[in-house]
Amino acid sequence: MPESIMPKPLKALLQSWDRFWFSRFDPISVSIFRIFFGFLILLTFLCSFPNWERFYAADGIISLHDAALNAKRPPEDLWCTFSWTEGFFPIKVYGWIGIIAAFAFMVGWQTRLAAAILYVLQTSMIHRNLLIVNGEDLTYRMFLFYACFSPLNDCLSVDCWLKQKREGPKAVQKDFPSIWAIRAMQINVLLIYVISVPNKLLNGIAWRNGEAIYWFMASNLWGRGWFTELFYRANGIVSKIATYGTIAIEASFPILVWFRKTKLLAITMITLLHLGIAVFIPNVTFFTLSMACAFWIFVPAASTRHFLQRLPYVKECHPLIP
């Protein structure tokens, strides 16, 4: 339908849709996301490297040579690159590839290629051994999928620096990139809370009566055994505050993050929540820190620039603000 005969409300809706999905944006904040997220993936690979053969080798926990374990192997070896090269080189080579790709991703060198390699590697790790899949494996895979389409190397990256050297300073002063891939990532992150909060309230009575945090702190799996008595003394008031506070922060974040006045407060609160989870709850550290990294994609570019204004390279990166 030509725009000239379109009803005004429909025209306004389409324009809003276009602005929401395809406007140009200053990529400084998503570059910070890339640096933190890349560092986290690098750390994860370094920590898991000593166990690489145990987890993923042909003679590891899920042995490829044992027919009795066929039920434990995923049927689609096509999606596991480890099986393509089985017997050609040791599995630890993939560990090294992961470490190099994570470093390249972090510093922003051949960023999309590094993201694609990490995505394929992460998918292969999940397919190879489902028994050791943890929360961070799934969130890494999700973020890496979006990273393959996102302009994460437009700022604060080796790619950007090399482009400047090759084509001159004006090369990085061109149009800002389109936001569509980042929007998809943002909405996916928000959906996590939109889905998990009702699940918590419907399925977990402890979330409704304020005892959830007590059960976490008392658990040997999810608590460190620190100050457990704090969470049941005084009628469990500390547990109630922590439980209802968690629900309030997680439920309000998907809404408040879209308004300029409440955006930074919502991001700060949810980041502090996840950092608190990283400190108090073991075994989910990398998962919760990956979520904390992801909140950078919501931070307004102007705030990031203000925060980093002393760094000279930041001013050279996309200095034209639309």
């Binding site: 898991s48 918590k200 799996l221 008595e229």
Partner: protein
Amino acid sequence: MLNIFTVLYTNRPVNLVNPVFQRLSHSFSPQTAYQFRLGAWLIERYAYLAGLDNRWVMFSWHNRFNWWNVITAQYGKGPAESKRIVLPLAFQSPRTFWQQLQDFKEAKFHLNIYNDPIGREAYSRYLCRQYPVHDDQPVEAITFERHYQIILEPAQARLYKTHLHPTKASYILNTFPCPNR
């Protein structure tokens, strides 16, 4: 939009949606019903490949008891010669700082094999290969012992001034003989 729809589809409340869908499919022709099932499979396949097939039900449920596995290996045959050794694994032996850093996947691994006898069998076979001999005795079997301890309700914890029941219990979960023994 495809990704958003995929995430929403993966996290649909299955107890509500699936019965409705099954009822509706009875009023379709077999071909139409097949097309719907094919569409659902394609979405699930895309979710699986793109890494969007996670169900976000994090921490909805809580354990009301602490539990842990103790994995032991039996070396030597017969009551005179056999010895049961607690294997030097995460959560059941002293760990250095670097080992603790590397153990970040262990808790989820134990959670994943909690209700998975085939997973425990796979792990036992691996342990047979990793710890084949002790004091010149070959390994005969790997045993999984489940230990647990009840966590008291908050009101009980206030009364008894502790959050854990004093009694710890255990039982033998599985004993897997090592292959070629």
